[in-house]
Each structure stands twice: as C-alpha cells, then as structure tokens.
C-alpha cells in the first residue's frame, strides 16, 4: 500500500478523515506502514474451514 503524502491524504479523505493536518497525515502514513509490516508476521496457516475465535462458547466447550 502506498504511503506517499498526496496518496495518503486522498485515501484518508475517502474514509472521512478530512481534518487531519500534515503532521497527522505523516502519523497515518507511518502507522499504516507499520500495520503492513505486521501483516507479514501473520503467518499461521489457515484451512478453508478454519473459523474465527467467537466470543460465545458453549458451556463446557
């Protein structure tokens, strides 16, 4: 994902973040880059039917 300054401003505005200053946009770019790096560490293999961890659990499960 690009974190180029004009691109990040456009992307921010598209999701309603219209009041971010240049400093805030730089923070958004940095945080977005960190999130992308973190994604690389989500390395657990998933089978097609692996379900999310639901909050509700049957009694005794």
């Amino acid at each position: 994902m690009s974190t180029d300054s004009s691109d990040i401003k456009q992307r921010a505005e598209a999701i309603g973040l219209t009041k971010l200053t240049d400093k805030h946009l730089a923070q958004l770019a940095k945080a977005t880059q960190s999130a992308a790096q973190r994604k690389q560490q989500l390395t657990v293999d998933l089978e097609i039917a692996d379900e999310p961890s639901h909050i509700f659990r049957a009694k005794g499960e």
Binding site: M1, R11, A12, I15, G16, L17, T18, K19, L20, T21, H24, Q27, L28, K30, A31, T32, S34, A35, R38, K39, Q41, L42, T43, V44, L46, D50, E51, P52, S53, I55, F56, R57, K59
Partner: protein
C-alpha cells in the same frame, strides 16, 4: 503495627474486622500520604476524599455494629479512569471525554461498593488505554515510584504507581495487550489478567471487544486473589462474560508447588526477542526457586512471539479504530500525539486481514492449550527490560512490541505478573505465570509459593 500505608489487604482486613483499625483512620492516613506523594507521582486524575471518608464512616459504623461484609469492608481502592463510577468523571485521560460523567457504576465498581470498599479516586491511564505516556494531554502521565524519571508501564499506569507507592493497597486496571501486567511488572507489584470473560467489561471504556480484560493490582499475591474474589463473576449484560462458577481464589493458595508440572517458554525472550540479561536471569532464578520447592519445570515451545503480537495488534487496532473512528474524523487534534498515531494504525487494515487474524486467534488458542497439555502452569517473561526513562520516546515506543503479554490476550488465558527481583539500577524485574482458562487459583498457588520463598514483594520504593 506496620506503617498503615504498607499494610497488605490481608493484614488490614483482619485489623478492620477485629475493630483494631478504624476505616476512617486508615483512609485518612492514605489520603494524607496521597497528598504528600502524588504531586511527584501523578497517579491520580481525580482524588475523591469526600466519597472516601463517607464510605469509611459507613464501614466503621457497620463494623462496629457487627455487620462485617467481608475482606473488602473498609478497604481503600482506586479505579483506572476508564472504569465508570456513578457521578464521577470517566475521562480515559483524554481531552475528548474531559466532561464525561458516568451515569452508573460499572459492575466491577458496583461489586467493590457492595463489598464495602472505600473509593479513593480515579487513576491515571494511557489515553483510552492505548496512547501513552503522553505529555500533551490535560493531565500529566503517572511516574514510577522506584524512579520517577522512569515509565511506570501502562496503560494502567496510575494503578501501578499508586499501589507500589503505598498510596493504595489495591486498584483495578484493564488489559488488552498487557496493560495490567506491564505496570505491575514495571512497578514491582502483582497484576492479574484473569481469563477472558471472568470479570465484567461493562461500564468500562472499550479498546478492543475481543481482547479487553479487567484485572486486580495489589502488592501481594494473596491480596490479588482476595480482590479477584470480589470482582469476578458472570454479567449477563456483557456479551463476553462467562457463566462459570467463581471459586474462592484464596482457598488452596498455600498448598505449595510440590509435584506440580510447570512449563517455561524461553524462546520468547532468548530467540524471538533478546531480553535484558538481568530480566532473563530473574526468570531462570524463579524457575530454580520453584524447582527447589518441588515443582518439575520443563521447557515448552509455542508459536513465535511475533505471530501472537501481530494477531493481537491486527485485532486490537481494527476494533479500536472502529470505536474511535468518529472522533478521529471530527476531533483528531484532541488526541495526544502518541494515541492518535496508534489509533490511526487501524485505518487501512483490510477486512480480510482482520477476519484472518480472528481465525488465527483460534488456532493460536488451540496450539497454546496443546502445548500446556500435562502442565499445571507456564512461566515466561513479561517485559524484555526494566522500565525505561519516561521521556525517552524511542525506548518507550520499543517497549510495546518487545513484550510477552499480548499472547495471553490472544488466547484469553489467565496470566499473572509477579515481581522477580530488581536490576542493578534498582528497578523491578518480573515474570508471568500463565494457566488454563478459569484456573486463576493455580496461578495464585504457584505465585504464593514463589512469594513465600523470596522477599521481592516486601521491598519498598524510595518515596519516603
């Protein structure tokens, strides 16, 4: 008698019950200490002396009449300022909620009130339990009583600081990626993140619905078990609350560790991350103490720390962004710098990545429980190093990814932070003891045996 301010809950409750200590006298002694120390430590956002003295007077009258409600009766405590107490501000340490007044008690606060506790005030937190320490908020960050130039840990920073400094015997914190256990570790006290669903989260500002926990923070293991006894229990109005019977966590606490099988996860702090040598050695020493008491300790392997961390942060930031989106759109300037940057990290996480992180969470839970097969508890590190200086931004930012607490927010298993000594520079060291769901009593049993064999929880910070 020990100085009133360093009485354990167990000691104080016995004196209160036996009418050898007046709740009003005890409360006033702590209010005087807070008045003297908190100008240096900034642990409290709002002190509530009128409420405290009224609660204490009521407790005194009831105890005098023979109506002792239990170990919390007449006991001072504090609440992290994301937990509602009717009629008091719940600010989240944020300008955004500066004028927010709670309409009701959170169930955990109501339980403390019903047990006869004495509310002393609302405690400093990282902003919305995620952004801190920040120096650009309406209130300063809390300081570490072992060295006020150092970070007390967070996000339940005021709770850690106040309990360690003898301003309170007990406080509640919250924990989404380690926020009870980090300040407990950095301030040299005991902090429990109980099983997900063990304590009600209702009436507490949310950070991540899937990962939020409420937990007790105290100076001793027994006190922690006593406080969990009060706040644990099913809340049908909290959709994450578990309908599981609550045992007496102090029963069996003195049974020792002889014959117990305890795992140790070394790769978190020797391979996945390299812990500070003093911190790593303190975990080895603790394992040696438990072996000396008759436990069998063996090393186990689980997924690398980074996998748990990535899962935790992906879920946490996605959910936190959803919670804060409106304010980030309308009032971004009202957040502290560090908070804003952390929350914005959730803006562009794709829905598929969030869902896959929740799917991985389930696999990580199953994998951890398989690794615990045949074991009673597991030891590992909490923080990779002692508290850094509070104004060293680079080091503060590094402490968040370099920790081993988030795995147990992912698994939802109970995890207890316990002091394991002090660095050469005089700062606390700590470990975690982790267990199976709803087996908090086993963690207290292991921790009590370790505490009895060491003297770490009896040391006091240089604040007097």
């Amino acid at each position: 008698m020990t100085d009133l301010h360093y009485l354990s809950m167990a000691e104080a409750s016995a004196l209160l019950r036996d009418k050898k200590l007046s709740p009003v006298e005890y409360t006033q002694a702590l209010l005087d200490r807070i008045d003297r120390l908190d100008t240096q430590l900034d642990a409290f956002l709002k002190l509530t002396p009128d409420i405290a003295l009224a609660d204490a007077k009521r407790a005194e009258d009831e105890i005098q009449k023979g109506d002792w409600r239990g170990p919390m009766h007449g006991m001072p405590y504090g609440l992290k300022d994301i937990i509602d107490h009717e009629g008091l501000p719940t600010t989240g340490h944020s300008k955004i909620l500066e004028d927010n007044v709670a309409k009701n008690d959170a169930p955990v606060a109501a339980k403390l009130r019903a047990a006869g506790g004495v509310l002393m005030g609302k405690l400093s937190t990282h902003e919305f339990a995620i952004g801190g320490p920040c120096f650009d908020l309406p209130w300063p960050p809390a300081r570490n009583p072992w060295n006020r130039n150092h970070h007390p840990g967070g996000s339940s920073s005021g709770s850690g600081s106040a309990v360690a400094a003898g301003m309170l015997p007990a406080a509640l914190g919250t924990d989404t990626g380690g926020s009870v256990r980090n300040p407990a570790s950095m301030c040299g006290i005991v902090g429990m993140k109980a099983t997900y669903g063990r304590t009600s989260r209702r009436g507490v500002l949310p950070l991540s619905f899937s990962l939020d926990h409420i937990g007790p923070m105290t100076r001793t293991v027994r006190d922690n078990a006593m406080l969990l006894n009060v706040i644990a229990g099913h809340d049908p109005r909290d959709p994450g609350s578990a309908d599981v019977a609550v045992p007496d966590y102090t029963a069996g606490i003195d049974d020792g560790v002889k014959g117990l099988k305890i795992g140790i996860i070394r790769h978190f702090y020797t391979k996945d991350e390299q812990a500070d040598p003093e911190m790593a050695q303190s975990i080895e020493d603790a394992a040696g103490v438990l072996e000396g008491l008759g436990a069998e300790v063996r090393e186990i392997q689980v997924e690398p720390l980074q996998v748990y961390a990535a899962c935790n942060r992906t879920i946490l930031l996605s959910e936190a962004y959803a919670i804060h989106e409106k304010w980030l759109q309308e009032r971004p300037e009202d957040y502290g710098d560090r908070t804003r940057e952390r929350l914005l990290g959730g803006a562009f996480i794709r829905a598929a990545d969030y869902v896959n992180a929740t799917r991985m969470k389930r696999k990580l839970i199953d994998g951890f429980h398989a690794a615990m097969d045949g074991l009673d508890a597991v030891l590992t590190v909490s923080s990779m190093e002692p508290a850094c200086e509070i104004d060293d931004d680079d080091k503060v930012d590094l402490t968040y990814p370099r920790q081993a607490r988030a795995p147990f927010n992912v698994t939802g298993d109970p995890a207890l932070a316990v002091p394991t000594g002090f660095s050469a520079s005089g700062l606390p060291l700590a470990m975690q003891i982790v267990g199976r769901p709803f087996e908090e009593a086993m963690l207290y049993r292991v921790a009590q045996a370790y505490e009895d064999a060491t003297d770490w929880t009896s040391r006091r910070p240089p604040v007097d």
